[in-house]
């Protein structure tokens, strides 16, 4: 069953604006990961945040994790047209398999 569940959003923003998307999950986790997918093909790992971390940065990405609410957010600052993609959160289940949410589609308009 899917554990990560993003708010089903399709964001359309102007280049330079920030994009925020959320994810909730149901079970206890050791970490939560965010992936990007372009054109419905291969996923690219963006960032991993561990359960004992509350916030993590990587370049223009900022991820937060609230284990009490079982939720995470991904913020992309100063968006670029190349950020146009679908973004998925994923949690690790037994045997290291990833459970993905449905994803958020982000369109950055130049």
């Amino acid at each position: 069953s899917q554990q990560g569940e993003e708010d089903p959003q399709a964001l359309s923003i102007q280049e330079g604006e920030n994009a925020t998307m959320n994810c909730s999950y149901k079970t206890s986790i050791n970490n939560l990961q965010w992936y990007r997918q372009n054109s419905g093909r291969g996923l690219v790992h963006l960032i991993l945040i561990r359960s004992n971390e509350r916030e993590k940065h990587s370049g223009r990405l900022r991820v937060t994790l609230d284990t009490s609410k079982k939720s995470s957010s991904l913020l992309i600052t100063a968006s670029r047209a190349a950020d146009t993609a679908s973004y998925f959160c994923a949690t690790i289940q037994g045997n290291n398999r990833l459970a993905f949410g449905k994803g958020n589609q982000v369109v950055v308009i130049p």
Binding site: R41, H45, L98
Partner: protein, 114 residues
């Protein structure tokens, strides 16, 4: 080094046919995963290999689906008697160990069953 590769990139077949999808993981990665992604959905787990053995095949939808990894490197996902509902993008990923390491995904194979 090279990433995960998958062949073919696209496969169109007729209902009832047999198909094989191939995955070449990153060299040295012992863990290999197959996922399936339907349109508008997130990827769903199919099967996980640690070395040559299938450590977890609980995600395979039925006995028409089978996967092998005979030498602990390349893996083949095999689908018998394909159905239209099998149409999806099949994604392969590998990681260096099974202990919560980052999984690196291939570009996927888009399977269309007519």
């Amino acid at each position: 080094g090279a990433g995960v590769s998958q062949t073919p990139s696209n496969k169109v077949t007729e209902k009832g046919k047999y198909v094989e999808l191939r995955c070449d993981p990153i060299s040295g990665h012992t863990a290999l995963y197959w996922y399936r992604q339907s349109l508008g959905q997130g990827p769903e787990f199919l099967i996980y290999f640690q070395g040559t053995g299938a450590a977890d095949d609980s995600g395979l939808p039925n006995d028409r689906f089978f996967a092998v990894r005979p030498e602990g490197s390349v893996s083949t996902l095999k689908i018998q008697r394909t159905e239209r509902g099998d149409s999806a993008v099949y994604l392969c990923a590998s990681s260096s160990t099974s202990r919560e390491d980052t999984q690196y995904f291939g570009p996927g194979t888009r399977l269309t069953v007519l």
